[in-house]
Subunit: 285 residues, 4 copies
Amino acid sequence: MDNKRKPYQLVSREWKKEDTIIKLKNTTIGAGNFSLIAGPCAVENEDQIFTICEFLSKFDLKLLRGGAYKPRTSPYSFQGLKKEGLVLLRKAADKYKMSVVTEVMDTNLVDEVAQYADVLQVGTRNMQNYQLLRALSKIDKPILLKRGMSSTLEEWLLAAEYILSGGNGQVILCERGIRTFETATRNTLDLSMVPLIKSLSHLPIIVDPSQGTGVRELIEPMSLAAIAGGADGLIMEVHNNPDQALSDGGQSLYFDQFSALVKKLAATSEFFGKKTTFYTESITN
Amino acid sequence: MDNKRKPYQLVSREWKKEDTIIKLKNTTIGAGNFSLIAGPCAVENEDQIFTICEFLSKFDLKLLRGGAYKPRTSPYSFQGLKKEGLVLLRKAADKYKMSVVTEVMDTNLVDEVAQYADVLQVGTRNMQNYQLLRALSKIDKPILLKRGMSSTLEEWLLAAEYILSGGNGQVILCERGIRTFETATRNTLDLSMVPLIKSLSHLPIIVDPSQGTGVRELIEPMSLAAIAGGADGLIMEVHNNPDQALSDGGQSLYFDQFSALVKKLAATSEFFGKKTTFYTESITN
Amino acid sequence: MDNKRKPYQLVSREWKKEDTIIKLKNTTIGAGNFSLIAGPCAVENEDQIFTICEFLSKFDLKLLRGGAYKPRTSPYSFQGLKKEGLVLLRKAADKYKMSVVTEVMDTNLVDEVAQYADVLQVGTRNMQNYQLLRALSKIDKPILLKRGMSSTLEEWLLAAEYILSGGNGQVILCERGIRTFETATRNTLDLSMVPLIKSLSHLPIIVDPSQGTGVRELIEPMSLAAIAGGADGLIMEVHNNPDQALSDGGQSLYFDQFSALVKKLAATSEFFGKKTTFYTESITN
Amino acid sequence: MDNKRKPYQLVSREWKKEDTIIKLKNTTIGAGNFSLIAGPCAVENEDQIFTICEFLSKFDLKLLRGGAYKPRTSPYSFQGLKKEGLVLLRKAADKYKMSVVTEVMDTNLVDEVAQYADVLQVGTRNMQNYQLLRALSKIDKPILLKRGMSSTLEEWLLAAEYILSGGNGQVILCERGIRTFETATRNTLDLSMVPLIKSLSHLPIIVDPSQGTGVRELIEPMSLAAIAGGADGLIMEVHNNPDQALSDGGQSLYFDQFSALVKKLAATSEFFGKKTTFYTESITN
């Protein structure tokens, strides 16, 4: 959409015309699919993650999210179950035939996380952690690259370029809101990035309405808006007991909210010409 | 969504539960309708505005936008045809049975603009021009109140409160993008405001994807996203010859783009349960 | 500092090499002077403004600020004494041989405010109120043009260009903080504008540390920083009883704070080679 | 300055009243000293770093900056000499009796960088790289913690809290500009943080006018402003040949600019009651 020479190359449409497709054992991201990644902000204990997983499996969900290593603003906040969290995620996901998406915060943890996860997530605070990006460029697993909270489109694509140029072409971009002056929402979800990325890059892009708004009631409308804008999927927080959650409870969906939403997501993505990879039985509005 | 005491009153859902409905001679904004306001950034001459109006009338559009008085960043840019522009807007709108939406920039111009327009627009630069808001609170015409480019939700609602508290309850809010660090788009369109406003206020809210992105190619996806997010309508720029437009050519739609878009807007708003007030014949996807 | 063609002309150094000097009856802004404008956020009553004026006159202050017409975010906040406030400002200023700096919010008020004020201020919310700027370009009084809270340097200079191109060359620019994500301060005071404006334009520039920080304790250090950065002066809020002030009490200085500060301002501006137009007796650190 | 319960503890004035003092072999940061850290953006070769070091030693500078591992937005930009750069920094610093300040980008590099550096810098992109902060909390060297480009005051202090709570109390904070809508400067240098940090925390705070403005001509005025605002020091880029620099040439000072500036810095810090740790001979304005 602009003609000046772009500073990135491998991530661009000019370099590769066809959409990049991310193939997991149990599902495919991109390729006209609409994917839904859901789960708790953080794994808290075995009961919690199995309860949530069982619930999600009713909707035939293929992708489980959950934090084991949690980047927290305060050193005094719950920091995640770490390796134990990874083990639990894997166990729960295996039982319910799901793939695990979880964050890796440091180069030292890449091997450990890669052992348990199917997709490794780079969080917003680490989008420009270039040593981490380089380490992830050397593994053979897909990377979910969240936009930095104050990153421009160009900086984001260049962060992806680090991964591609190191040899790993399996990158999924994730818009998760940017930092602005507005305080009514936790972040300002910048949905214009979805069609803009689609036009400039071949990489799939998903949206995180939980982090992107920080307000539970906004998750449904912004999820539908993300689909309408062309997103390849969503990642969102759901919890069996949001009021007792150890982190991000206020933006996690209750089970009944999630149930109602899944139905609408399926119908909406179908309307916009995407195949849903979940809730694939007959859909009635 | 938060429980602290709100600084606004008359605009709030607590004050008035039912949605505010804006009734014009030829159409109604709100009340489950999806409205489309279209036209050039600025009226340039008789030929231009009649050509555009004729084109819009093919889609049964009820609401014509066009600037007569233009707030321009530079004193050396085209400032609009002023009163002549108002006359032309009225003439064209009358011929094609449309209502006129146009900006009023100053208290001194309220009477003049009100004489020709059906809806008076307050632009983003004047959202906190309180003398103007007070003057508009005393007239009997609907006001389209654009969000200030760096206004919080609360400041925006308080600007509307100025109009309501002065006696004019006919206010339509318009999200048009905010100023952030991102330069790939002209503004960052903050669609989360749509459901948030719907929850906090009874006033209708529409979205301006032209100003909100500044990128022609983003107008379609962001329009669809706005509908999915629950907007009561859209306002957008269309021009018979964008490449020669005296202002905002780069974000104005070509006629053929607009034709394709109208069809999608109608189908999409119907899918989301809104009645379209335009293109009301049989819709085929 | 950059070589691309500038969109402004009359305000630029290229157009006019020598610094613009603003001459008032009792003092001169620019020309190597360091000016101090002080007074309450708003005129509240005769007692208040005379008490404050008497206090300021002890320091030989030449410039009194005070709001008569106040742009307030909420319609339910104190809106100023309006014309009565102007009368009181004039009366107090005359008694103590000061010049009046006060805000004009609307074209309709230009004549009235110009009758009482020596310098007419355009507030941050009206920086792009172009009708107002045009009206002010036609009067023969200096204009204090505050930066819009989300205005770029270029937009600010173009707003000044409106005034100069209409015929009024007496413009003083005022940096008053911009809107950012940071909430620890009310605004982010952008002192880099001071040397940048000095380099690009011949207009004098002053700084408002009261609005610029919104925190009383920051006024002293940011005032000194503004002087070090090259500002031609300061505008600040001082009140005989900040805790009871009808507006902006939390960022108004107490009398004793102001007394201590004036001394430091005088010494500091002298150190940086500026002549102070106040507190001109012997200065001891 | 506000009374709500603070989320940080060890970094607060309430916890520790006296200023934290950072003692290096050859100089002390804090304790009423004004420190100057200077050097190239990146070490490029032996000749360059020795030339610059020799130049700096004429002013009795105690602190050398220089990047060996460089976090670059693009994977195709010069990434630093890495270990070789560290070796050169050490060698040059030892010859001229200086201390080395250099960035550490990753937990894996902490030991290596700590072996060569006297102060380890955490860059703006890594301010919330919590694994790195934890690793640095376990070493016995001072940490220079730059503010994240979109970090609030609170998040910044909490990042420091990670280091203190892990056992390392030797933290120097560095304001280096935040990301805003303004494009005339590379970042918006937020000098209000200096007195605000001084009031809330016992940690020393310095300012980076090079990164903070990105404009060579602004370095002098913003340096003086930083001193006036109460900063404990400055970190800035100087290069023997800025026009050929491999990174950040446009914001690096020429030698003659630096020479002129050092004199002014010394005089100004003396005026504001700080002892300079450089250029300590007789100072004439």
